[in-house]
Structures are given as C-alpha cells and as structure tokens.
C-alpha cells in the first residue's frame, strides 16, 4: 500500500478559497487585457524583404550579391558548418560543436542562388543557354577574371530601361556575365527568384526556405534592418519592427553580445550561448546551491509578501513563522 501523501498546508489556519472561480476570473481579466491591447496597439507586419524589392530599389546591390555568390566571396561560402567546410567554425579552446556536427545543410551559393535559377530560365529563354555553357566550361581563373572586371565596372554601369549596361570593354573582359546578370535581374524583378531557388527539389510547396533566406542574409537584409532600427547593436533582436516589444525575456542573452569579452570575439555566438546555458543551469539548480539558495533571505522581499501573516503570528505561533 502506497504511503498516504500529506502536505502541511492543513496544519496552518485556513481561509476559504475557490480555485475554479479564481481561474475563471483570471481568464476573464486576461481576455479583456489582450483584447484591449490588440485593439489599441495591433501588431507590426512589415513584409519580408524580397529579391524583387532589392532588384527594383537597388539593382546593383542584387548584382553585387550575385557576383559575390559566383566568386565564392559571399558570407555563406566562407561560413563553415553546417553549410560547408570552407570557413572557420566558432570554437572555445579548440572545442567546436559546429565542427563536430559537420556539414548538414550543404550549400553552394553560386549554384543554388545564381546558376540553378538561371538554368531554369534557360529552359524558357534558350538564348541564355550559350552564356551559361560558356560559364560552366570556363576555368576558375577565367571566371574570377570576368567577375573582377565586371565588379570594377559595376560602379560606372547604368540601367537603361531595366537593362544593365556596363562600360564598353574588350569583347572578352566580362565573358557571359552581362547576359547572365541581366537575365538574373529580370528573374528577380519578376518575383520568381526565391521560388526558383527553393523549388529546386520539385513542385512541393516551399515550406523550407533556408536557401532563399540565405540569399539576402548579408548586406541587403542588414541594410533593410538598419532602416527599420532592427540591427543587433541596437538591441533589435529583442524588439519587433516599429518599436513593438519582441522577445524581451531574452534580455540577458542579448546583453552579453553588447559587453566584453563577447562583443569583440570571433566566437561570440558560441560563448554567449554557453554562458547563458551555464547561468540557466545554476538558476535551475538553485535549491541545491548553498549561498545562491540563501539569497531570498538576503533580499528580504519575502517579508513584504508575507507581511500580513507575520503580523498575525507571534514567535511562538504556528509552524515556522
């Protein structure tokens, strides 16, 4: 026979209480509160930044992005795990969980962001097939030379009726890139670039948008976030667009990013996550940690919480009071 469980609440003087009524009242109060807050303050809904938007507002930025992808100079090509092995994974004293986990979401930016979408366009616009073949048959050195030439010419390039016109150069300086970039710009302007990137595996709805989200994740997203006052150094991650509160409960985690030694570390993410994890474990285990578990006694807030109880009891009174 199991031991009859007993708590010592019944040893104290009792007062009437109605759990169900309290729950219903709390539900009513909370319902009214969120109803009023929703009616007065609503919620922000700034549309996601799209390649179409970048292509229209800052076409050269999108083209620079594509050139970085093609030359492997984009942030993802040098990111390391889980996307590739070409970057340095974050580590602390040689311990790198990301390196141990390895490449789990392999991404080749040139192929995923630029060449695969253009190859899809080439099935409709066959004039693009030849430039793409020229690109694929070229040596790495040749491709790099084309990219370098057109990158240096991009500042002086103009857009005439939506078509990129680069300054005249010797016929082979840019290789197939002007044609490819104009097709890319057209694809982005049509609004189909993200679908062309994510829909690589077939007609299934693109519920996994990892690749298209990584397309603009560096400069374009950061520029847009800055305009919206959302960048990390402005504590943007714990607030929503339009100064709405975000995940303010992550204040401690976000605070660490702002202070030394984390602020200047190349492994800041790993250090912040581990530090937050250690602090969390300490708090979870508070009941077993001498000193930490005595802090409530030091703060004395409990005297305020139970002040009426202490007033009604004497030293010889009930239980532990």
């Amino acid at each position: 026979m199991a031991r009859k469980w007993r708590n010592n609440n019944a040893d104290f003087p009792q007062k009437p209480y109605d759990l169900i009524r309290e729950m219903l009242v709390a539900l009513g109060i909370m319902g009214a509160l969120v109803l009023v807050l929703a009616a007065v303050f609503s919620t922000p809904d700034v549309p996601a930044l799209t390649a179409q938007q970048v292509a229209r507002q800052d076409p050269k930025l999108l083209l620079q992005n594509a050139l970085d992808d093609l030359s492997g100079q984009d942030a993802i090509s040098t990111y390391g795990p889980p996307y590739n092995n070409s970057g340095t994974a974050q580590s602390i004293a040689g311990f790198s969980p990301a390196q141990i986990a390895g490449v789990q979401i392999p991404i080749n930016s040139a192929k995923v962001n630029v060449l695969d979408p253009l190859n899809k366009v080439a099935k409709i616009d066959t004039s693009l097939q030849s430039p793409l073949q020229t690109w694929s048959k070229a040596t790495v050195k040749q491709r790099s030379a084309w990219v370098n030439h057109i990158e240096s010419a991009l500042n002086h390039a103009t857009l005439q009726h939506g078509v990129l016109v680069v300054p005249a150069a010797s016929p082979d300086s840019y290789g197939p890139l002007p044609t490819m970039l104009n097709a890319y710009l057209g694809l982005a302007r049509s609004g189909l670039l993200e679908s062309a990137i994510d829909g690589g595996s077939g007609p299934m709805p693109a519920t996994n948008r990892t690749e298209s989200l990584l397309l603009l994740q560096d400069v374009p997203d950061a520029q847009y976030a800055n305009q919206l006052d959302m960048s990390g150094n402005q504590w943007g991650i714990i607030k929503e667009t339009g100064n709405y509160p975000g995940a303010v409960w992550l204040w401690f985690y976000t605070l660490l990013y702002q202070i030394p030694p984390f602020v200047n570390s190349s492994s800041a993410d790993l250090e912040v996550v581990l530090t937050t994890g250690i602090v969390t474990i300490l708090l979870v285990l508070t009941p077993f940690i001498p000193g930490l578990r005595s802090l409530p006694k030091v703060f004395g807030i409990y005297k305020l919480i139970w002040r009426r109880w202490y007033r009604t009891t004497t030293k010889k009174g009930r239980g532990h009071a």
């Binding site: 199991a2 469980w5 708590n7 010592n8 609440n9 019944a10 104290f12 003087p13 007062k15 209480y17 759990l19 169900i20 729950m23 709390a26 909370m30 509160l33 969120v34 807050l37 303050f41 609503s42 919620t43 809904d45 700034v46 549309p47 996601a48 795990p81 889980p82 994974a89 969980p97 990301a98 390196q99 986990a101 789990q104 979401i105 996994n208 989200l213 990584l214 994740q217 847009y224 976030a225 919206l228 959302m230 929503e240 509160p245 409960w249 993410d269 996550v273 979870v284 285990l285 508070t286 009941p287 077993f288 409530p296 006694k297 409990y302 919480i305 139970w306 109880w309 202490y310 009071a321």
Partner: protein, 211 residues
Amino acid sequence: MKKNMTRSLRLWVQNTLPMENLLPDSMPSYVDSYVYLFGILTVAALVWLIITGTVLAIFGPEWWHVSPVGHFFNSMHFWSVQAFFFFMVLHLWAQFMMAAWRGGRHWTWIGGWLLFLVSIVAGLTGYLSQNNFDSQWIGVQGKDAINSTGIGGFFNILNFGQMYGLHIFVLPMVIIVLLAIHLMLVRMHGVVEPLPNGKEEVDNGEKVAEQ
C-alpha cells in the same frame, strides 16, 4: 498473484493527490498577496494563446497578412505572448524571493524552469512563423547562435515548415504536459510556507519536510 497495474495506478493517484488537494476550497491564511496571482495569470494567458493560436492555425499562416480579422487575432496572440512571459517572469521572481523550492519542492522549481525554457523556444518558433521581415531578420540573425552549437542542421530556424510544425503542435503539447506536472506538484506539496521571520539559514527544505 500478479500485480494489478490499474489498481496500483488508482491507489497511487488516490494517495498522492487526493481530490481535496487537487481541487482545494481553502488555503492557508498566509496565502495573502498579489504575488500569488502571477501563476494563475500566466496559465490564463496560455489559455488565450491556445485559443487565438488555434483560430490562426485553422485559417493558415497567410491569413493574418490579408484579413483584418486575422490581423486582430494575430494581435491578440501577440499580446497574449507578452502577457504570458510578463506574468511567468514575475511568477518566477516571486517564487525565487519566497525560496519556494523548500519542503521538497525542488522538482516544482526545476519543472517551472523547464516550462520557461520550452516557452522561450515556443516563442522563438512563433516569431519565426510570422512570414514577414521580423521572422526573416530573426531567422538570419538567430541562425548563427544555433549553428554555433552544432544543432543548426537539425533545428534549422530558416526552415519555416519545421518551425511552424513545432510551434503549433509539438511545443504547445510539451508545455501542456509540463504544466500539468507542474500544477500537480504544486497541489501535491501545497503552497510553500512562509520563511522563518528571523535570521535562520534557508535550507533546501529537508528539515522542514520532516517536521
């Protein structure tokens, strides 16, 4: 004779959590402060989160971007989240200040922290499910922290389908189960008694439990 598992379970429930403890109609008179409302207000906010979240799930993730009614339900969901965390954090601080882990209540404290941590992940997956610039920015910014821990390949915060599924089903279920256990532990142990009003050392409750 074979042990009857059904009878054993029934007896365990009867002995561990008798109905008068599960659904009490009286409380010790020291339960006399507004801080005791923080827990139940957190639960109330969770109920509204589930109600508004269910409506949003029924109509699909695009609905609130195109419908004023959908936007209003999203707003209620958003402010329920803020209220949920606001009262949960107040509840947590209040329990800390009362050293509420005493009297063998350490599992209640640990379970409360688990609820907080799972709720943070639930909140994150919700922010990521918004399908707007907030979710886009949080995704591309947050991925670096997740990737640095080595779990980014499994818990890919740029994978909308994964985040949405976790947000509308898996994590709410975990929260509900953890909350049920948390409330059961609260009712089993009863409300923690006041700290000694002197200078005694606060222990982890073993001595108190024996008295």
